[in-house]
């Protein structure tokens, strides 16, 4: 009676297989898209990825054009963004995790942070334009850009750092308090060292997102066509994604290939940053075992 099921089960089993097939298809499509996107850029750009490309300036002539100022600009921008965002983000996370009482003010701050994480990046660009470039008269400089980017990725860093702080066992803190340490001593000497790898990982990942962002920098009018390498934080600048964007939009087909080459450079930088982040996380996890 249990064998071979009744005919009804046949129809049901068919639906079951269909559901499985659709689910599998979705995963396959996603992975396929990834492969195609990366493969497409690689195929188009690899032939144009020469040493000359990396060390030259943009030009009206595709054969002479290069990505140097954009690369340098990106490096400057990320460096300064890291400089501002890391301490601010960690301090905010420490306050919220270790000090903040459960009241309306804290609640309000947390709601704000969650909201800010969802604001479109171009709106941050407008913020930077109005506040840093205009009101604070920093001009369209790397400094203004870095401050804008800082505000953009701050919510991400705060959220990731809070996770890292939360994962430090309560017992560690309690042990230190029981010995008479002050809250700051406990935080600085016990909690932060333990949470640091997680915080670093989260920060590096946030920064790697920042490097790929073009919209906010376009809004504060980072340059599109640069003929110099920025030498100070007050200089004007451009970044990799903007340079890529510029080339993609030019009518001549060779510039599209340059854009692809630029994409490869950008992806290499991203992979490098993410690898560092993952390596930190991996080493920390292994130590914990």
């Amino acid at each position: 009676m249990f064998k071979n099921g009744e005919r009804r089960s046949g129809g049901r089993a068919l639906v079951g297989r269909l559901v499985y097939a659709l689910a599998l298809l979705s995963v396959a499509l996603s992975i396929l898209s990834l492969v195609v996107i990366l493969g497409d850029a690689l195929a188009d750009g690899l032939p144009y990825l020469t040493w000359r490309f990396i060390t030259s300036f943009p030009s009206r002539f595709p054969s002479r054009a290069g990505i140097l100022p954009a690369l340098v600009g990106s490096v400057w921008l990320v460096a300064f963004t890291a400089l501002f965002s890391f301490p601010l983000g960690v301090c905010a996370a420490v306050y919220l995790e270790e000090y903040a009482p459960k009241n309306r003010v804290t609640e309000f701050i947390q709601v704000n942070i969650a909201n800010l994480a969802g604001v479109p990046s171009i709106v941050y660009g407008l913020l930077g334009l109005g506040l840093f470039v205009d009101t604070l008269s920093m001009g369209r400089s790397i400094l203004a850009g870095a401050l804008t980017m800082t505000l953009l990725i701050l919510p991400v860093i705060i959220i990731a750092s809070r996770e890292a702080l939360r994962s430090v066992p309560k017992l560690y803190r309690e042990g230190a308090f029981a010995l008479g340490a002050t809250r700051w001593e406990v935080t600085r000497q016990i909690v932060l060292p333990e949470a640091l790898p997680g915080i670093l990982t989260g920060t590096i990942i946030a920064l790697s997102r920042a490097i790929g962002e073009a919209a906010p920098m376009i809004a504060i009018a980072a340059l599109v066509y640069v003929t110099f390498v920025p030498l100070s934080p007050l200089d004007r600048f451009t970044v990799l994604p903007i340079q890529i964007y510029n080339w993609v939009n030019l009518p001549r087909a060779e510039f599209r290939n340059l854009a692809a080459a630029g994409i490869i450079v950008l992806l290499v930088v991203l992979v490098a940053m993410n690898s560092v982040a993952i390596a930190i996380r991996y080493r920390h996890q292994r130590k914990a075992v």
């Binding site: 249990f2 099921g5 089960s9």
Partner: protein, 277 residues
């Protein structure tokens, strides 16, 4: 010849009756029969060479200390163990004469014939009506019959009177005891032959518990009930046959009266008198 020992005292009061007389067998082959059945989770040998026959239309209790395998035994009857990837079995389990671990067995049909009630009530996030109707719907019952099925099942679970005027309400609006009876009704709705109950009262208060115990006795008139419990008094109150398990083996099996008053195995006696477990 084993000398007869004085009957063990359980601390039950004089009113306690053991779960009724064992009814005369209906020419009975046991409705569930384990033969040399083994179960492993990965490397853990959880059920060791089980041979046991469960008679139809009675309540059979399975008891034993934690980790003895009683839940695993129960879950082998409706093969819900299959959901655990590392689970392996050997041996035979016959339900109504057919080996349910044989090749070509339709597990879904099996689970229609063998219903299960869990330790913690687990109603679906749906209305009371839809909870009971879920099983029949899944097995293809036509819409017109559902109302009747739902009412009969709720009556069978002694819940109809309390919910007949609010069938469309969320199942979570019921109390714990009512939710458990809802789960029983849900199991009844697919018209099983056997109902497995895995410590169904352990999350309930005493009043709800006694209602469900009464229900178990009632149910055994139409169905076969297999009950896992760690509550000795409950096993004594409710069942006609009792099995005692220890570390994956069935150490003793017999009529409840015999097992409790005259245990043959020393382990059984120690368990009953509270020396361990």
């Amino acid at each position: 010849m084993r000398e007869t020992k004085p009957p063990v005292t359980l601390g039950l009061d004089d009113e306690t009756t053991f779960g009724g007389q064992v009814k005369p067998s209906y020419g009975s082959t046991d409705i569930v029969e384990f033969s040399g059945f083994n179960l492993w989770y990965g490397d853990k040998h959880v059920l060791k060479d089980i041979s046991l026959g469960i008679r139809s239309n009675i309540v059979t209790a399975i008891m034993g200390p934690s980790g003895c395998g009683k839940s695993s035994l129960l879950r082998s009857i409706n093969r819900i163990n299959d959901l655990i990837p590392s689970c392996r079995t050997s041996g035979v389990v016959n339900v109504k004469g057919e080996n349910i671990y044989g090749p070509d067995v339709d597990v879904y049909e099996l689970r229609k014939r063998v219903g299960m009630v869990f330790q913690k009530p687990n109603p679906f996030p749906k209305s009371i009506y839809d909870n009971v109707a879920y099983g029949p719907r899944v097995h293809g019952a036509p819409q017109e019959e559902l109302d009747k099925i739902v009412e009969e099942s709720l009556r069978g679970a002694a819940l109809w009177g309390e919910v007949s005027d609010r069938l469309r309400e969320d199942a979570f609006s019921l109390s714990g005891g009512q939710q458990q009876r809802l789960c029983i009704a849900r199991a009844l709705a697919v018209e099983p032959d056997i109902i497995l109950m895995d410590e169904p009262c352990s999350a309930l208060d005493p009043i709800a518990t006694s209602k469900i115990e009464g229900l178990m006795r009632q149910l055994s008139e139409r169905y076969t009930v297999v009950l896992v419990t760690h509550n000795l008094q409950q096993a004594a109150r409710v069942s006609e046959m009792t099995a005692f398990m220890y570390l994956g083996e069935v150490k003793e099996f017999g009529s409840t009266k015999d097992v409790f008053e005259n245990p043959q195995n020393e382990l059984t006696e120690n368990y009953i008198t509270g020396k361990f477990g």
